[in-house]
Symmetry: C2
Subunit: 566 residues, 2 copies
Amino acid sequence: MASRSNLMRALRTPVIGANASRSAAAGRALATSRRTTQPSTSAPSSTSTPAGSRSFSSSSRRLVAPTPARRTKLTTETYPNLQRDPRFAVVTEDHVARFREILGDSPSAIVDGVSGAVDEGDLEPFNEDWMHKYKGQTRLVLKPASTDEVSRILRYCNDQRLAVVPQGGNTGLVGGSIPVFDEIVISIARMNQIRSFDDVSGSLVVDAGCILEAVDQYLAKQGYIFPLDLGAKGSCHVGGNVSTNAGGLRLLRYGSLHGSVLGVEAVLPDGTVMNDLCTLRKNNTGYDLKQLFIGAEGTLGVITKLAIHCPQRSPAVNVALFGLESYDKAQLAFREAKKQLSEILSAFELMDGRSQQIVSEVKGQDKPLEGDHPFYCLIETSGSNGEHDYAKLEAFLEDVMTREVIADGVVAQDETQIRTLWGWREGITECLGHWGGTYKYDVSIPLKEMYKLVEDTKARMEEAGLLGDTPEHPVVAVLGYGHMGDSNLHLNIPVRRYDPQVEQALEPFVYEWIQKRNGSISAEHGLGIAKKNFVGYSRDDTMLGLMKQIKNLYDPNGIMNPYKYL
Amino acid sequence: MASRSNLMRALRTPVIGANASRSAAAGRALATSRRTTQPSTSAPSSTSTPAGSRSFSSSSRRLVAPTPARRTKLTTETYPNLQRDPRFAVVTEDHVARFREILGDSPSAIVDGVSGAVDEGDLEPFNEDWMHKYKGQTRLVLKPASTDEVSRILRYCNDQRLAVVPQGGNTGLVGGSIPVFDEIVISIARMNQIRSFDDVSGSLVVDAGCILEAVDQYLAKQGYIFPLDLGAKGSCHVGGNVSTNAGGLRLLRYGSLHGSVLGVEAVLPDGTVMNDLCTLRKNNTGYDLKQLFIGAEGTLGVITKLAIHCPQRSPAVNVALFGLESYDKAQLAFREAKKQLSEILSAFELMDGRSQQIVSEVKGQDKPLEGDHPFYCLIETSGSNGEHDYAKLEAFLEDVMTREVIADGVVAQDETQIRTLWGWREGITECLGHWGGTYKYDVSIPLKEMYKLVEDTKARMEEAGLLGDTPEHPVVAVLGYGHMGDSNLHLNIPVRRYDPQVEQALEPFVYEWIQKRNGSISAEHGLGIAKKNFVGYSRDDTMLGLMKQIKNLYDPNGIMNPYKYL
């Protein structure tokens, strides 16, 4: 039982910042430095563990053993059943000549592998994703500088039946922005201007190709914040964020992009410019068409500009970590945090004991709390008054400790400690790769049953004799962590080696399990090519039919980002 | 200049509750009692001023002089250019027989004026709106009790080309839920069950016919709140709220329904049940089709159930009212309130001096602040800790007074005073009708220019010689108030009598003015029949074409709520 004196010790004991790799980021802004799970360049980060090059995403099909000189498999090799759609024309030099008329001759506007003007290496950054999981075969990249150029490109492509893939920062996790065959890449990178900001209402208008971090830094100077935060913020484009309906850590506080995006300018496949770039919070003048483009992953058109409502930036940030003895108590803690921290709660993250044990073992660091706890929660508050926020947090922790909802807790005393505590949540992904690879599932499940997926999956692995501490067992552990505030679980299965038995035990088991609970097989990463074949686990045939009806309405020739999504 | 001592006096001086009519509501819950601008029954409220029966909505076309025994004009008389669409069948007794097969014989399920089973009076509540502005000619009302019944009704209507009007609580302001000719009314009133509530995540699933206040009262017992609040909450249905994309006072804090609605179950015109009733905050599995139904005003199908994310209820509520010397200062105060009150700010309302003068004159009450101010703002905070919130509010008021952003201010000390201060905002609508009628426009305008619409309209009335204090001038005043936090202005022109000159001076002037600023001619009330012909001022032809494309996709026979919306 946690005593009052024990609590106060825990509350006041500074956490010693033992995470050397994070302290290097100490001089950077808080929001930027503490969320870096995803490399900001297309190459994986180099780390002291071999895990860096073995990061895998939600779909398990591309899980391969690491090789010294790793070659990314073509997506068509990974998915041998995919056939190039014969409706689409093959890009010719005549086509390229027309694109040069539209865009000009500058190499900044066209990367031309069709006429042989560039070699394969110049096309690679557009053909491959940052995880080296997906690889396409485009021979042409177009980089329009204006909405009008996008419109003229698409109209011509539609007329000529040339398939295209819109591409932003190329930081996606499901292969959505990578061509499969020889689709033309339309990169939005040159469309990167901040168009307007109303510093009273918080309405921001930006080009789709703006980098999220650049926009957020611009807003920081005005005392505002972008209502979305991602590990990939240094590379991802805001247009891509909207096309993917990205979630991230701020969703608990600022809600989904369906609520915060005020307007969208998009170019439809036939070149039509849809000007729905409203900057107003209230506008009831007809169907809210822009919503279709939020999360459409470039299959209906190309988002070229967006307007978004930005909240004021909170000057005070607090972070606490606590240990709990059961998932039921974690739910109770979440409910109490919502009640008592209410308007200042900005993150509520769940990590199970196994995930924290692995981080501790792999990094060789002592955990911030004494002893082992079956569950840990990390909470962040963001508010306008540091004293008030700290008082609320302290009262909350005292209450939940006195009532034995939590077993122990610690509050960060400064920014270094904030980063250290976040490290126990953010370090998981990296550490899980320690043994060879990880099967990862990004799913939403109603909160009451969320963690049961981990328990049931673990039991299944044990029954199949796949889970154990010795080398003959492929599975190292079955664990879970994620955004508890959003019912968003990351089910992770670190393995010693690729093994078809593990995959067979996992799928369709996991998807069926989620289907039975009305969960979502894709919480925040989108469908892309990775989950195209699994949507039926979260949507019935009627919904799928209605979605395909929309696709056919906007893109009757199917040129927009083919082979993906639905 | 405001001195520090003056401020503290103002801050600490209790407001004497002089509003007798509001004190009657003292025993009711705060949220319920202080927002009652719209009567909760279909009949206008009886008040001591003649204004009660002279309340007019956004469109000026139906402004008529009050008569002792008032008869509501048929909508077809008001809009003589409207013609019944000859594609639609006329309801026969055979049709009614089929509907009886679906719904049973109970009078609670069918109000049958076709077979002569009921008289005109029984149909009137479904044919007329609560403002007595719109009047249809339906002879048949169907009240399904389940989604399946709605589906069977619509499939049959679609096959038979019978036009229908979905109807909720019938509290709309633009005639959207009232038939125009003989369309069949489908009332959702019997579908009124709360289906589920997850008291950890806050996900609520309810039938579309639930009354907003009933749902909110249910949530209050769980410590939660519905993320929408309206004057009509005692009558309106949540399905109607979503169909209208209602805004209200909580939008500043909880965002739009596009963000908070998690899922929708809707029946399409051909009877297809679209099950998009997700209860998860994150779900990236295809196009977000439910968004099309939010704000579609029943033109694409009938919403039968919805899932919505409900926030925790705030135990502490504070209200302050202050006077300002210019609109620029009101903007500055808004910016500072957002910054300093940040996460606890739940309302920021603007009222100009003229509106407050009229309330004072009509009600015969002294204003809560000494002297006259060109502008007044009412702010409300809602938080989890009353002491913290009051301290923030006090510090904010001290800061803005010291810097002369505001000229004077007062903070309510108890619930009675909270209601009294809100009365100065909410009493405007009623008091404006004192002289005969009011031209009302509910619009959104980028905040910097928002109030200029009032100034320019006033100048126009003065130039035309229409505005003055003597009886020969039709216009009493031109004034503005509204939800400053949402850039939502209510431009109001109280008049002594209906005068075509006033209307000619107002339209299309007001709409063109808004169009030039990329504003919205309909902020939160929808289009219905009132604004159908004016959408072009806020949407270009391309957008209108794309919207009509969606309408044709879902409702190729046009049976859903015809003659309205687009």
